[in-house]
Symmetry: C2
Subunit: 250 residues, 2 copies
């Protein structure tokens, strides 16, 4: 049996690899979607093929979530502020990933301004999307509440008492068990959040036509990839606020 230390290191490595595989797959999705939408516009592509592509991409997301969930089961803390994310992305994180409700905000125009990034939705579609939005926010709130309770539980655990009565900060068996249990609970919660993410994506795509769905996925993936790049770039050259302020004052 490998030592627990090297195995655990292996797991964080696997989580990182899993993430970068997903990012590279998303880069491919972007190319595929662009190509398919271009062909569609020149009538060289039929709706059925576009539908297939959209279905494949949604399945890829589900597989990614499944793989992540397997890795989460072993060690989930790192997913709540991954080292491979920029600070910008970590500040946007909800339960180790994006907010399912943001799928709707980011891409689906509510018809109130002219900057639609997607082919126009019908009134029926808009109604369905709005209903979904409300439902998803409700599910998010439920999980956010659970998360808050888990966080409070840590403070409530035998830890507090242990920490109070002993001088040493060395963790004993009771503390380690409590922390393990906490990590397991967080893992279960993240799996639930992943389920909401996947389900929301599926339900959105069901409401849309294949062209709209392809546009929606393309926009979302571009935003995701862009945020990663921008976050890193901002860190590399120092943080944005300061930069801008100094220019204004300079």
């Amino acid at each position: 049996m490998a030592s627990s230390s090297s195995s655990s290191y292996g797991i964080e490595q696997l989580q990182k690899e899993c993430y970068y595989e997903w990012m590279s797959l998303q880069a491919k999705h972007i190319v595929d979607l662009k190509e398919a939408l271009m062909r569609q516009r020149s009538n060289a592509y039929n709706h059925h093929k576009l539908e297939e592509l959209v279905g494949k991409i949604v399945n890829d997301f589900q597989s990614y979530a499944k793989r992540r969930s397997e890795l989460t089961d072993k060690s989930c803390s790192s997913y709540f502020a991954p080292s491979w994310n920029s600070s910008l992305e970590n500040g946007l994180l909800w339960m180790g990933g994006c907010r399912p409700s943001s799928f709707i905000d980011e891409n689906i125009d509510d018809g109130h301004d002219g900057d639609s990034s997607m082919s126009d939705l019908t009134a029926t579609q808009l109604e369905k999307i709005n209903d979904l939005h409300v439902k998803v926010i409700r599910e998010e709130d439920k999980l956010t509440k659970k998360y808050a309770n888990f966080q409070e539980d840590v403070a409530d655990m035998p830890i507090a008492v242990t920490a109070f009565w002993r001088d040493s900060v060395e963790a004993d068996v009771a503390v380690e068990d409590a922390l393990d249990k906490h990590e397991e609970c967080m893992g279960v919660l993240m799996a639930e959040a992943d389920k909401v993410r996947v389900e929301t994506l599926k339900r959105i795509v069901e409401v849309l036509t294949p062209v709209q769905a392809a546009e929606f996925l393309l926009s979302g993936k571009r935003l995701h990839m862009s945020l990663h790049e921008w976050g890193r770039a901002r860190e590399d050259r120092g943080y944005g606020c300061v930069h801008v302020r100094m220019q204004q004052q300079g």
Copy 2:
């Protein structure tokens, strides 16, 4: 004028230093509180002196929050998942710090079990603490909701449209402005959260006797310091879950 890049790097460094100064001050608080409580028990210390110490420690926390807030104003993203925290701590983070409601859970026994870590509270004290708990949770929920809205706003921003219409992921001025504005909003939110943290601490201490307040502060500080140590230790030797499971299976 210094280059924006070196100044920004300096700010993240300052944030880290500010944190470690606070941790080291807390280590001193622990020693002071222990000593004061020991003297108190041997009747060699009067209530007034204990009260002074408690007041000083609460003021130190307020100064720390103020200093953090000054640094947040310049760049707040890093506070939402600080690199100086362990994953365990980052998973417990709420608005760049601890949950104010956890001040109450962690230390104040509700009288339902025998593991009280603090000298017994009177019925009146318990009632006041419970009222405060409810109020604090309500304030937390309000800020959590604001945070969710800011997160959604990012997805809603010109970014999405920019990302959709352009092939390049390079950020343009509109994107940079939007991200700067986002970071500013998050900074304001964190300052509000810090205010709730400081106010909650003050209100708890007001309800308690000097001895109870000293015990409460000691317990909280020990938990805070312990979580930092334990989180690091768990990371150094690999994550807990895996370790435990492999032992069970091995």
